[in-house]
């Protein structure tokens, strides 16, 4: 490849990525040369502005047709566009939260927050657009390694160190498994390009090596379930969520999870949805493995929702809640209906709004009291009625009560489960039953906020950044719940991601 071909590529489609990369680089340099005693909050606004610029440039890219550059390693299709919106919006909120993060022992390394968030975001965005196993893996690693550091950023706080350690080890294992799965695929097809792989696979099947391929599928899925925080790789979530700085927890539960679903959808649909499991006319590989993934989805929902019942630490409770939501999202994936990407996208948007909103309020309350115990929410309605009502909205949405975005998201996933023939009654029944179980712990927080007397009477004041996040998320949760057609109209321009394979 010479310079001429390199210059011929339409680099414009990478504008959002370049923006993030540029801002992250500049920030890391500024942070290096800035005197230690200077307040680094300004850097946060700079990072926030960078994300917003990237968002705007992404809007500019909306009308662009499917383009792929660099030998198909980077592609901009509707799938990439749609999911980058979630990633960027999530990262913008998380950066706002991190500016106002005030742990008890102080936060001397605030600058790292911003450029590490941006680096992780960049990794996630690369995964979204990737058309090649190599770039996909590099994106995954960029996201993972940045997150490992972020989790341990509270240097003088033992649980933070502990959770970073756990996260690295678990992450390492899962990455190894993912890579092992990828190596099978490379071994069977001799290429890392997704499109070429999909083309080669029919010959693999003809050679009678479908069992190796099935093994590769399971290995990839199991390895990637780490990012989703779903069974069998969910055990890290509670410890890491609890020990990590709250904005990082929010990042892991929203942006990192979204990235996980992005790579699962990309890989699974691209490689396995079109490949027949047995002969030429049999059901696809993915469909034939459906039951196994359905089992994992069911287990995820049950584990997340039942263990959450016993948690008193709210961050830990939200960790299990986030496991449960990964399970709901997997239901949307496993049913493989015509709603597959639409319903996952909508649910991720709803989840971003309700979960980040809840984490924003949780962060302020935990910072103020130095404890994440559920009793810190007692009497919040008396102390600050509006904050309590906002938190109530997020909780109701997480529980899937009508009038909120969470409800519409669940309805769409259920529609997918019932529209196929045969319908997934068992999985849907597990999902609805665990949803009812989740009422108990979600309403436990509501009980604290609205029924219990407060230990102290001082009102909870939200700092500017947190306030912005809370208002944005609360409005979004309600509006998308009451007039979901706004989201669906936006989604319709992607025409159900029909250009996924082109």
């Amino acid at each position: 490849m010479d310079l001429k071909t390199l210059l011929q590529y339409e680099w414009g489609i990478m504008t959002p990525e370049f923006t993030i990369l540029g801002v992250a680089t500049i920030l890391s340099l500024i942070d290096l040369f800035m005197p230690d005693e200077k307040d680094r909050r300004l850097l946060g606004w700079f990072a926030f502005a960078g994300v917003i610029v990237a968002l705007i440039s992404l809007v500019g890219l909306l009308p662009v047709e499917v383009t792929s550059i660099l030998e198909d390693t980077f592609r901009l299709d509707s799938f990439a566009k749609a999911f980058k919106f979630i990633l960027l919006a999530g990262a913008a909120c998380v950066i706002l939260l991190s500016m106002d993060y005030q742990p008890a022992e102080g936060m001397p390394y605030r600058g790292e927050f911003y450029y590490l968030f941006l680096a992780a975001l960049l990794g996630a965005m690369m995964m979204t657009s990737s058309g090649d196993l190599i770039t996909m893996f590099v994106g995954l690693e960029l996201l993972s390694i940045s997150s490992y550091i972020l989790v341990g950023l509270r240097k003088k706080y033992v649980p933070s160190n502990e959770s970073a350690m756990k996260y690295v080890i678990n992450g390492g294992i899962s990455t190894a498994i993912t890579l092992f799965g990828m190596s099978y695929i490379f071994g069977l097809t001799g290429t890392t390009n997704l499109k070429a792989i999909a083309g080669q696979l029919s010959t693999v099947i003809d050679m009678g090596q479908q069992y190796l391929l099935a093994l590769a599928l399971l290995m990839l899925f199991v390895g990637l379930s780490f990012k989703l925080a779903s069974a069998p790789f969910h055990m890290w979530a509670p410890d890491v969520y609890q020990g990590a700085p709250t904005p990082v927890t929010a990042f892991l539960s929203v942006v990192s999870k979204t990235a996980g679903f992005v790579i699962v959808l990309r890989l699974m649909i691209y490689i396995f949805a079109g490949t027949p499991a047995e002969g030429t006319n049999s059901a696809s590989m993915l469909l034939s493995m459906q039951d196994y993934i359905a089992f994992l989805a069911g287990a995820t929902m049950i584990i997340g929702n039942t263990i959450a019942l016993r948690q008193r630490n709210v961050k830990r409770m939200f960790a299990y809640s986030s496991i449960a939501h990964a399970g709901y999202l997997l239901v949307g994936f496993v049913t493989m209906s015509m709603f597959i990407i639409d319903s996952i996208w909508f649910y991720l948007v709803a989840y971003l709004l309700m979960n980040l909103g809840a984490f924003a309020i949780l962060q302020v309350i935990a910072d103020k009291s130095g404890s994440e115990d559920i009793s810190q929410f007692a009497g919040l309605y008396r102390r600050s009625p509006l904050v309590a009502v906002a938190m109530g909205i997020f909780i109701l949405s997480l529980a899937g009560i009508p009038g909120t975005a969470g409800f519409i998201g669940k309805v769409n996933i259920f529609l997918g489960a019932f529209v196929t023939e045969p319908a997934h009654y068992v999985l849907a029944a597990v999902m609805i039953a665990t949803t009812v179980i989740s009422y108990v712990y979600y309403f436990g927080i509501l009980t604290q906020m609205f029924f219990r007397p407060a230990a102290e009477q001082t009102p909870v004041k939200l700092p500017l950044g947190v306030m912005m996040v809370v208002i944005f998320c609360a409005i979004g949760t309600i509006v998308f719940g009451v007039v979901p057609s706004i989201v669906y109209d936006f989604l319709n321009q992607f025409e159900h991601f029909g250009d996924f394979f082109s």
């Binding site: 015509m338 709603f339 639409d342 109701l396 009560i401 009508p402 009038g403 409800f407 519409i408 309805v411 769409n412 259920f414 529609l415 997918g416 489960a417 019932f418 529209v419 196929t420 023939e421 319908a423 849907a428 029944a429 609805i432 039953a433 949803t435 009812v436 009422y439 108990v440 309403f443 009980t447 609205f450 029924f451 007039v483 979901p484 057609s485 669906y488 319709n492 159900h496």
Partner: protein, 509 residues
């Protein structure tokens, strides 16, 4: 009549005005808040009565229907453009209108009963009005998804109203309410979404059409087999059975009756339980008439069990609220009995019972509120001899009990008589066993009420005031309505005629 296309929306959402107004009132202004809370229930009442009067004088109620585009799940090129849409569509028939009138009347009276609320009036009335929106919407919704959304809107305010303003074990009662009804709604949601996903629509009228038309069924997204239909009907029976409640699913409702503030129990017992009956008739009977016919005997037996179980347990209760709670279970048995009869008289009796019991239980719980306010207990053995200290209250209590046990000339008699008439015609044996329940009703109600009013005075009633004027007006109004339906049942029978005919057509004559 005013601009009709917004009429039902105004009817359903006008309590919202009250919520907004309340948001601007300082929370210490007790009188002001109570006044706004009361006034905010009036527009709905006015609209409902207006529609009712117009309907009786021959106005075509179907022209009130509204329809606006709302949600479109996934626009697929290969699908009909209306598939997977959920519209915002409201519409009422005679049955729904009667329920709406009942709701608005009880809501206004419950707002009056809320004068006994002691704390945080602002939050109370905001939730109260939200609850009213939910209840009205349930009856006006034309499609299943919208129905479900309104159905759930009643769930959340009720949780807070019980958990915050109730008595000693309020939080336990609130949780029990939440979990039981959560499971009920979860099952209901599954049924609704299975229908929606497989047919592509959730509009009740369209669903009926599809089920009656084999050609339309061939065009569905995915088939609905015979077994699935039975499954769906049984799921509906369970979902609404939690609400009604049908006997093994009733324990939450006892807690709510005892622990929730009386003004809320008026609505709970008067309207919310009736949503179960409404749903069973509207969707169970409306969508699956064939399957319902096969299950009719089973439903009639469930009804008799409800009737007898409630009646026998009511007999041994010491808490007057518990007597009334079991009495509610017993009376809801009559609704099931009427439905199980599956003939015109039976179904008419069931609907009559829904309305009549709504009024009667509201009356009795209003009086419980009045009583508790003055003597701080509802235990029967601690009351007694009330007739001397509070002659008027005691008199009203007796009137309520008489209506409840089915004294001729009051609404309870009409509904129970018609329901049993239906069942005797269809299934005489079950009806004969069920008739025992009627006797038991008289026994337990008279035991409870007579002990309270004429029994030995176990306490000093010095300084206990009788019912005040502001409290007496709602009571008189309720008694008047009960007697009105009792002497002139046509006031109900006429508006229900069209609905009944439609149900009977669905059943095949």
């Amino acid at each position: 009549m005013m601009d009709q296309t917004y009429f039902l929306s105004l009817l359903v959402f006008s309590p919202l005005l009250g919520i907004i107004a309340l948001a601007f009132v300082p929370k210490e202004q007790e009188q002001m808040i109570k006044l706004i809370g009361f006034l905010a229930t009036l527009p709905s009442l006015f609209f409902a009565l207006l529609a009712f009067v117009q309907y009786l004088s021959g106005y075509d109620i179907n022209s009130l229907a509204e329809k606006r585009n709302w949600i479109h799940f996934g626009k697929f090129a290969f699908l009909n453009k209306n598939t997977f849409t959920v519209d915002y569509e409201l519409g009422i028939d005679g049955f729904a209108l009667v329920m709406i009138v009942l709701t608005t009347i009880l809501a206004t009276l419950a707002a009056v009963a809320s004068i006994h609320i002691k704390k945080e009036w602002k939050g109370y009335f905001m939730l109260f009005l939200l609850l009213e929106i939910g209840m009205l919407g349930v009856f006006a919704a034309e499609n299943l998804v919208l129905f479900f959304i309104f159905f759930e809107i009643t769930l959340i305010p009720m949780f807070f109203l019980i958990g915050k303003w109730g008595y000693f074990e309020k939080e336990k009662a609130a949780y029990s309410y939440l979990i039981y009804n959560g499971i009920g709604s979860a099952i209901l949601l599954l049924v609704i979404l299975i229908l929606f996903a497989r047919t592509g629509t959730s509009n009740v009228a369209l669903l009926k059409e599809i089920f009656n038309d084999p050609a339309a069924q061939a065009q569905m997204m995915a088939p609905i087999s015979e077994d699935l239909r039975y499954g769906l009907l049984i799921a509906l029976l369970v979902a609404f059975g939690v609400k009604l409640p049908i006997v093994p699913l009733h324990s939450w409702m006892l807690r709510v009756h005892v622990q929730a503030p009386p003004s809320i129990v008026m609505l709970h017992s008067g309207v919310l339980l009736k949503i179960g009956a409404f749903g069973l008739i509207r969707f169970g009977l409306g969508l699956f008439p064939e399957e319902f016919r096969d299950l009719a005997t089973f439903i009639a037996i469930l009804g008799v069990i409800n009737l007898l179980y409630g009646a026998f347990l009511a007999f041994i209760q010491n808490d007057f609220k518990m007597v009334l709670a079991y009495s509610s279970i017993s009376h809801m048995g009559i609704v099931l009995i009427g439905l199980g009869a599956l003939n015109e008289a039976g179904i008419q009796g069931a609907i009559f019972q829904v309305v009549s019991h709504g009024l009667i239980s509201a009356l009795l719980f209003f009086l419980v509120g009045v009583l508790y306010e003055r003597v701080n207990t509802t235990m029967i053995d601690k009351l007694g001899g009330l007739a001397k200290a509070m002659p008027l209250t005691a008199g009203f209590l007796l009137a309520g009990a008489m209506a409840s046990l089915g004294l001729p000339g009051m609404s309870g008699f009409v509904s129970e008589f018609t329901a049993f008439l239906g069942l005797f015609a269809a299934k005489p044996l079950i009806a004969a066993i069920g008739a025992l329940g009627i006797i038991m009703t008289a026994v337990y109600l008279l035991r409870a009420v007579l002990t309270v009013t004429y029994g030995n005075a176990n306490r000093d009633y010095a300084g206990v005031m009788d019912i005040r004027l502001v409290e007496a007006i709602p009571v008189l109004l309720l008694v008047a309505l009960i007697v009105l339906i009792g002497v002139y049942p046509n006031i109900l029978a006429e508006p229900l005629q069209a609905t009944l005919e439609m149900i009977m057509n669905g059943l095949g004559g």
